[in-house]
C-alpha cells in the first residue's frame, strides 16, 4: 500500500468526493507550532501516490475540505486565522483564489455542506464557528457560544441546516443555522473534546472523541448518557469519523500513534482493527465515500498512507 512523504507534518487528509483517486492533505511545518504550511493534492496511481499539485502558505494548515459543488475547489484552515480557497484548475500563481480573514485565532476545522453544497463552516480557537458561502468574502453567520477553542464543526449529512461542534470547553453542541443559539448542549466529556462526527445513516447519532481517551457515541435525543463508550486508545483522541458505508463503523486516530476502527454496536468486541503504522501522532484520517473500505491517514511523522480496510497500511 502506498506511502507519501510530505515535507511538513501532516494534519488532515480528505478524499475527493468527485475523483476516487484524489485526496487533499493539509500540512504544517514544525508540528504546526511555527513556520509555513502546505496544501497537497495527491493522486493514487498504480505506481504509488504522486503529488498532483501543492500550495504553500505563510502559516501552518490544520484542516482542509473539498467543495461538494466544484471538483477543483479545496479549502484550507490556516493557523493565522485565515481560510484559504484553492482552485486546482488555475495555475499555482493564481492561487489562492480567496482568503477569508475573520477569525482572530487559529482555524482548526473546515467542513463543506454535503447537502446544500454551497456553504462551509470554519471552527476556530477564537471560540467561534463561522458560516461561509463560496461567493462571498464575508461570513454569513458567527456562532459564538463556546468558551474555549472549537476543534471541530461538522455538518449533519441529512439536514442541510444542522451541524455539530466539539470544543475544549468539554461540550459538544448541535446547532441549527436558522436558530440564533445552539439547539443542544451535550456535556459529553470531562475533558476537551477534540473531534465529533455524525452518523451517515442515523441523523441523530453523534460520536465525540476526547482528551480523556474515550470515544462516546450519543443519540442527541437522549443526550444525558452516551449510547456507548469506546475505550482503547492510550492517549487523546484526535479525530473520529463515522463510516460512509457502514452504519456502526467508526474510525478514530489518536496521539497514541494508532488509528482504530470500531463497531459501536458490538458490546464486547467493539475494536475491530488497530493500525499502528505511524511513528508520531496520528492526526488526520478519512474514509473514502466513493471506494468502500478505502482509508487514508496522516500524522506528524510526515507520511500519508492509503490502504484498504483489513489490509496492513505498510504492505506494498
Amino acid at each position: 500500500m502506498p506511502v507519501f512523504r510530505t515535507a511538513f507534518n501532516g494534519y488532515a487528509v480528505k478524499f475527493s468526493p468527485f475523483v476516487e483517486t484524489r485526496l487533499a492533505v493539509a500540512t504544517a511545518q514544525n508540528f504546526g507550532i511555527i513556520g509555513n504550511g502546505r496544501q497537497h493534492v495527491l493522486e493514487l496511481t498504480p505506481n504509488g501516490i504522486v503529488e498532483y499539485c501543492a500550495f504553500d502558505t505563510a502559516d501552518g494548515l490544520y484542516d482542509c475540505t473539498w467543495s461538494e459543488s466544484n471538483e477543483n475547489l479545496v479549502v484550507s484552515a490556516s493557523g493565522d486565522g485565515s481560510v484559504k480557497i484553492w482552485d486546482l484548475a488555475r495555475p499555482p500563481a493564481a492561487n489562492p483564489i480567496g482568503s477569508l480573514e475573520e477569525h482572530a485565532r487559529e482555524v482548526y476545522s473546515i467542513d463543506w455542506n454535503a447537502v446544500r453544497k454551497d456553504s462551509f463552516l470554519s471552527g476556530s480557537w477564537d471560540d467561534t464557528i463561522r458560516l461561509w458561502t463560496i461567493d462571498r468574502p464575508q461570513s454569513m453567520r458567527v456562532f459564538r457560544e463556546h468558551t474555549y477553542c472549537v476543534y471541530a464543526a461538522v455538518w449533519n449529512p441529512r439536514h442541510a441546516d444542522v451541524f455539530a461542534s466539539a470544543s475544549g470547553d468539554c461540550t459538544a453542541r448541535v446547532w441549527d443555522v436558522r436558530e440564533p443559539n445552539s439547539t443542544i448542549i451535550i456535556p459529553a466529556h470531562d475533558h476537551e473534546i477534540l473531534s465529533c462526527d455524525w452518523n451517515k445513516y442515523n441523523d441523530c447519532m453523534l460520536v465525540t472523541g476526547s482528551v480523556d481517551k474515550l470515544i462516546k457515541v450519543w443519540d442527541v435525543r437522549t443526550y444525558r448518557t452516551p449510547v456507548t463508550v469506546l475505550q482503547g486508545h492510550t492517549y487523546a483522541i484526535r479525530r473520529v469519523k463515522f463510516s460512509p458505508h457502514q452504519e456502526s463503523l467508526i474510525a478514530s486516530c489518536s496521539y497514541d500513534m494508532t488509528m482504530c476502527m470500531w463497531d459501536y454496536k458490538a458490546p464486547e468486541d467493539a475494536l475491530l482493527e488497530r493500525y499502528d503504522h505511524h511513528t508520531e501522532f496520528a492526526v488526520g484520517m478519512d474514509m473514502s465515500v466513493l471506494v468502500e473500505g478505502l482509508l487514508a491517514s496522516t500524522g506528524w511523522d510526515e507520511t500519508v498512507y492509503v490502504w484498504q480496510f483489513g489490509m496492513d497500511p505498510r504492505a506494498l
Binding site: 507550532i33 511555527i34 492517549y235
Partner: protein, 462 residues
C-alpha cells in the same frame, strides 16, 4: 508577538497530553442500601451494645408427671432452684433484676402467679423485685424470655429473668366448667376444644405421616436423649433439685436430689413402640410412645443488654435475635413450627438454610416429622440431644428449658454453630419460634486498652 503565538499553540497541544484523572463518583452508579432480603445478618460482624444477650440459662431435670422424680414436689420448689442458679452462677445481685417473667400454663392464673412470687422469695430475691406470669400455652416459656427481651429493649429495665414452670402432676390438662354452646357456631372456635392428640391425628392424616415414621422419630428421640445423658451433655444446664419422694403406700418421706431427666427409655425400639395402641382415635397413628410425655420441670434464663454484660464481665452465652408467633388452623395446630420458623428466620435477616441448630418441640411425632420435612431440615441439626417425646414436655417450662439446651449445645459445637432456632406448636392453633445466635460469633469492635502510663507519648502530651 510571534513567540506569544508559539507559546499559546504549544500550550493548547500540551494540554491535550496532560494525564487525565476521572472524577471519583460516576453519576451513572449510585450506592444504596441493599434491599436484599437474604442473609444480610450472616455477614454482620459488628456487635452492638444494645443487643439483648443471655448470660445464663439453666433448667431442672424433667421428670414424668405423677410417677417421676418430682411427683411430690411443689411447683414453686421447681422454680426457686433455677432462679437461684442464674443469680448464683453469674454473681449478679438479685436486687438488680428488673422483673421475673414466668411462663406457666395449666395452673389457675392468680394462684400460680402468687406461687411464682413465693418462689422468688425462696430463691433469695428481695421484695423489690417484681414477678409476673405469661400464658401462650405450650410456648409460654419462650414467650416469657421474648417478653423480657422486649422489655429490656424498650428500656423498662436493664436485667430480667425469663422463666418457665409446669407441674403436670399438680395441674393435669383439664377443662374447668361448662362449654359455651356458641362454639358450635364456628368451626375454628370448636376446634380449640379438640384434644391435642386429635390434632395430631389430623396432621398425620392430612399430611400423610405414617405410623412407622412417627415411631421411628420417637425411637430416635429416646436414643439421642439417652446418648446425651450418658455423655454428660446435660450436666452444664441441669440444676439438681433437692426434694422429697413420698412412698404412696407408707407415706414415708425420703429426701432425694434429682439431677437427671427420668423420662427417656434408653432401650426404646421400633418393635416396642409398634405394640402400643393408638390412644386418641381408633385406627389412628398417635400413641403414648410417639407423643410428648406429660412432665414436671422448670427453666430460667438471665438476660441483659450486651453493654451491661460486658461491663459486668459476664460471658455471653447467646444473643436473642428474633421472636415470632403465628396463627394456624386449630384443627392441625401441630404445623405451627412450619410457619413460625421461616418467619423468625426472616425477622432475624436470615434464611432457614442459615440456621445451624434446631430445637423443635416434639409435641407429637406426626407434627414434628411433618414440620422437619416441610422445611427440609437436615436431621443432623434437629433435636440433636433428643426431644419432648423422650425428655418430656412440661408445658410452660419447655420454651425456657429449650433455651438452656440449645445454647449449651451450640457452645459445645463451636463457632461453626452460629444460629439456633427454638420452635413449638401451640394448642388452639399457633406456632412460635425464636432465633438465637452464639454469644461470641462477632468480635467486639474495640481492642483498645486503657493506657497505664504516658511513657510512649511526648512530653508535650502531659
Amino acid at each position: 508577538m510571534e513567540m506569544e503565538k508559539v507559546r499559546l499553540r504549544q500550550n493548547v497541544l500540551l494540554n491535550h497530553l496532560k494525564p487525565v484523572t476521572f472524577p471519583k463518583a460516576s453519576t451513572d452508579l449510585v450506592a444504596t442500601v441493599c434491599a436484599a432480603g437474604d442473609s444480610a445478618a450472616y455477614e454482620r460482624t459488628g456487635v452492638f451494645g444494645d443487643d439483648v444477650v443471655i448470660v445464663a440459662a439453666y433448667r431442672t431435670p424433667i421428670c414424668k408427671a405423677k410417677r417421676g422424680g418430682f411427683k411430690d414436689t411443689f411447683p414453686e420448689d421447681l422454680l426457686a432452684p433455677v432462679l437461684k442458679a442464674v443469680i448464683d452462677k453469674t454473681g449478679v445481685s438479685p436486687n438488680e433484676v428488673g422483673d421475673i417473667v414466668v411462663g406457666t400454663v395449666l395452673a389457675p392464673g392468680s394462684q400460680r402467679a402468687s406461687e411464682c412470687r413465693m418462689a422468688a422469695f425462696y430463691a433469695g430475691f428481695p421484695e423489690t423485685v417484681p414477678v409476673r406470669t405469661v400464658n401462650r400455652q405450650c410456648s409460654s416459656g419462650l414467650q416469657a424470655v421474648a417478653d423480657v427481651v422486649a422489655a429490656i429493649k424498650a428500656g423498662f429495665y436493664d436485667i430480667g429473668i425469663g422463666a418457665g414452670l409446669e407441674s403436670m402432676t399438680v395441674n393435669p390438662m383439664a377443662w374447668e366448667g361448662s362449654v359455651n354452646p356458641r362454639v358450635e357456631t364456628q368451626k375454628q372456635a370448636q376446634d380449640c376444644l379438640l384434644p391435642m392428640g386429635i390434632t395430631s391425628e389430623n396432621v398425620a392424616e392430612r399430611y400423610g405421616v405414617s405410623r412407622q415414621e412417627q415411631d421411628k422419630a420417637a425411637v430416635e428421640s429416646h436414643r439421642k436423649a439417652a446418648a446425651a445423658t450418658a455423655a454428660g451433655k446435660f450436666k452444664d444446664e441441669i440444676i439438681p433439685v433437692e426434694t422429697k419422694l413420698v412412698d404412696p403406700k407408707t407415706g414415708d418421706e425420703k429426701p432425694v436430689t434429682i439431677s437427671v431427666d427420668d423420662g427417656f427409655r434408653p432401650n426404646a425400639s421400633l418393635s416396642d413402640l409398634a405394640k402400643l395402641r393408638p390412644v386418641f382415635k381408633k385406627d389412628g397413628s398417635t400413641t403414648a410412645g410417639n407423643s410428648s410425655q406429660v412432665s414436671d420441670g422448670a427453666g430460667a434464663v438471665l438476660l441483659m443488654k450486651r453493654s451491661l454484660a460486658m461491663q459486668k464481665g459476664l460471658p455471653i452465652l447467646g444473643v436473642f435475635r428474633s421472636f415470632v408467633a403465628v396463627g394456624v388452623d386449630p384443627a392441625v395446630m401441630g404445623v405451627g413450627p412450619a410457619f413460625a420458623i421461616p418467619a423468625a428466620a426472616k425477622a432475624a435477616g436470615l434464611e432457614v438454610g442459615d440456621i445451624d441448630l434446631f430445637e423443635i418441640n416434639e409435641a407429637f411425632a406426626s407434627q414434628y416429622t411433618y414440620c422437619s420435612q416441610k422445611l427440609e431440615l437436615d436431621p443432623e441439626k434437629v433435636n440433636v440431644n433428643g426431644g419432648a417425646m423422650a425428655i418430656g414436655h412440661p408445658l410452660g417450662a419447655t420454651g425456657a428449658r429449650c433455651v438452656a439446651t440449645l445454647l449449651h449445645e451450640m457452645k459445645r459445637r463451636g463457632k461453626d454453630c452460629r444460629f439456633g432456632v427454638i420452635s413449638m406448636c401451640i394448642g388452639t392453633g399457633m406456632g412460635a419460634a425464636a432465633v438465637l445466635e452464639r454469644g461470641d460469633s462477632a468480635d467486639p469492635l474495640c481492642n483498645a486498652r486503657p493506657i497505664k502510663d504516658n511513657s510512649l507519648l511526648s512530653k508535650d502530651a502531659k
